[in-house]
Amino acid sequence: MSSAMIELILEATLDTLYMVAVSGLIAALLGIPLGVMLYVTRPRQILAQPALNGVLGVITNIGRSVPFIILMVAIIPFTRALVGSSIGTNAAVVPLTIAAIPFIARLVEGALNEIPPGLVEAAQSMGATPWQIIAKVLLPEARGGIFTALTVTIVTLVSYSAMAGAVGGGGLGDLGIRYGYNRFNPTIMLITVVILVVLVQGFQSLGDYLVRKSDHK
């Protein structure tokens, strides 16, 4: 294999890692609070706001129901306004983030739902404010579940990022399609798939480790 080829593979791997890391990080920063909001604004919850909860739920569901490839092209004007371009790695980060936010939010909401209601009740009996309950009870108790949610999201982002080629985003998926498929190079195809498998395995193992470490049940 030529050194140019190796360089291409390396570059594509870094592009994938960049897209996954940046979109994963931003989506976590926005998705976790959204997940908490979805949970605490439910009826009979600590910050019950049924109307707001309904609106957030609908928005989240819309985000979850649009197929990623369609989302990517549908928000091109928004992407251009945000990062100044509709092609390239940065342009791919925008739809990846938008897709991951509701994904994380629903998973976090599910993780919070696993917490026995008695723990919140106990905190309330101690005079905890809703914010104290979120910070000292809900988030720490759901830590394992939140790590699981982030791991699932990262793995999903790795696979979504393979579609980023559609907007010239680069990355391993793009490399596999252009060189492996369009130019009939099975070696490149195999290498990109192997690298993707290794990445997913790595993220999953890291996630499992964090979940185990935070689980005292």
Binding site: P116, A123, S125, M126, A128, T129, P140, S214, H216
Partner: protein
């Protein structure tokens, strides 16, 4: 199971603030006309979980509320710290009316009311130490101060050596001890116990109840507990209320309740607790009305002086009846002794009638369960 040798270890600063105020009869908990109705969507009529409940617990007392599941116990105790906001009525704790409070003022008031739960409700993500520290963190206390407060509490409940463990590593009884330490951390005036021993085995229940009694006596802490177990009421409560269908149907000193419950439900609880039922074969032969050759079967409850009087032999001598004892039991309830007996009075109709009136004049409860026909 941690064992605690000898008396209760009590740090001086815990005693200093709340000595047992035996002379004070101030009301610590006061529920007036409290009702709670749950309304659900699309239905006009709500479910009445509590109907006009009045409850007064003086300072330093252990008051039990006993009832079957669904009777409203759980709603009642949650109305005291407003985990459930009453639909009507007022709740006053330590002279402060809570029903008028919301937000921060209510949270401040809750710092003065500790609560423990059937399923302990400890945070799995925190160590034992950090669980006890939680209420203090919520109050905004400094770290060093928290450590000073938490360590003596863990010693108090006999778990100082478990400070760095997580709740999952503890037994049920140990978890409840941690929960008790946590509930005491903010130095409350009142402790609410929500079926605190219902998830524990009988032995562990005993040790938790002992701890609660020690805390009550040494810290002068007022305790309101709800339970479905007569054992709990018998071993630590001073007064007891019986709840049924969202209403307090009977209230009495524990000694009185166990010797002379005034309601049928009270008697049912007592009989279940004492397991003093006539033998099954006899129940089948019992008839409500006396027949030509029948003998009454009676349940006798003795208390006070009656326990030590040789009533049965006197009955035989003075009324000329033979007494066949079918079941008998003696229970100590606090400083009272309670004797219970199921007996058949054997004699002719006049003699047995005389025997019954003799018994009734001797300060004991007589209940005629029925009559058995005699073949002879």
């Amino acid at each position: 199971m941690a064992t605690r040798q000898g008396g209760l270890f009590l740090p001086a600063h815990l005693l200093a603030r709340t000595g047992p105020g035996a002379t004070s009869v101030a009301q610590m908990i006061r529920l007036q006309n409290v009702s709670k109705t749950y309304f659900s969507k699309g239905k006009d009529a709500g479910v009445e979980a509590l109907k006009t409940v009045d409850l007064h617990v003086p300072k330093g007392q252990i008051h039990g509320v006993i009832g079957l599941s669904g009777a409203g116990k759980s709603t009642l105790i949650r109305c005291v710290n407003l985990l459930e906001r009453p639909t009507t009525g007022s709740v006053t704790v330590d002279g402060q009316e809570l029903t008028g409070l919301t937000g921060d003022a209510l949270n401040q008031a809750r710092h003065r009311i500790g609560m423990i739960f059937q399923h302990f409700n400890l945070l799995t993500s925190r160590t034992v130490f950090a669980n006890v520290a939680l209420p203090l963190e919520l109050m905004g206390m400094k770290k060093a101060e928290i450590a000073e407060r938490v360590t003596p509490l863990l010693e108090l409940v006999g778990l100082a050596d478990k400070a760095r463990q997580h709740p999952a590593q503890l037994s049920g009884g140990q978890k409840q001890r941690v929960a008790i330490a946590r509930a005491l951390a903010s130095r409350p005036r009142v402790l609410l116990c929500d079926e605190a021993t219902s998830a524990l085995d009988p032995h562990t229940t005993g040790s938790i109840l002992e701890l609660l009694r020690d805390i009550n006596q040494q810290l002068g802490l007022t305790i309101l507990l709800i339970t479905h177990e007569m054992e709990v009421v018998k071993s630590i409560c001073h007064r007891v209320s019986l709840i049924s269908g969202g209403e307090l149907v009977e209230e009495a000193e524990v000694g009185d309740f166990f010797t002379a419950p005034r309601t049928q439900l009270g008697r049912d609880f007592l009989n279940d607790f004492l397991e003093l039922e006539p033998p099954r074969a006899l129940i089948e032969r019992l008839e409500a009305a006396p027949g030509p050759h029948s003998h009454p079967v009676v349940r006798l409850a003795f208390s006070g002086d009656a326990v030590s009087t040789p009533l049965i032999s006197r009955l035989a001598r003075e009324c000329g009846v033979d007494v066949s004892i079918l079941q008998a039991k003696v229970e100590s309830i606090q400083d009272r002794t309670l004797g219970l007996m199921i007996a058949e009075l054997m004699g002719d109709a006049d003699d047995t009638r005389r025997a019954l009136s003799y018994l009734e004049t001797h300060d004991l409860q007589v209940e005629v369960l029925g009559h058995v026909q005699r073949d002879d």
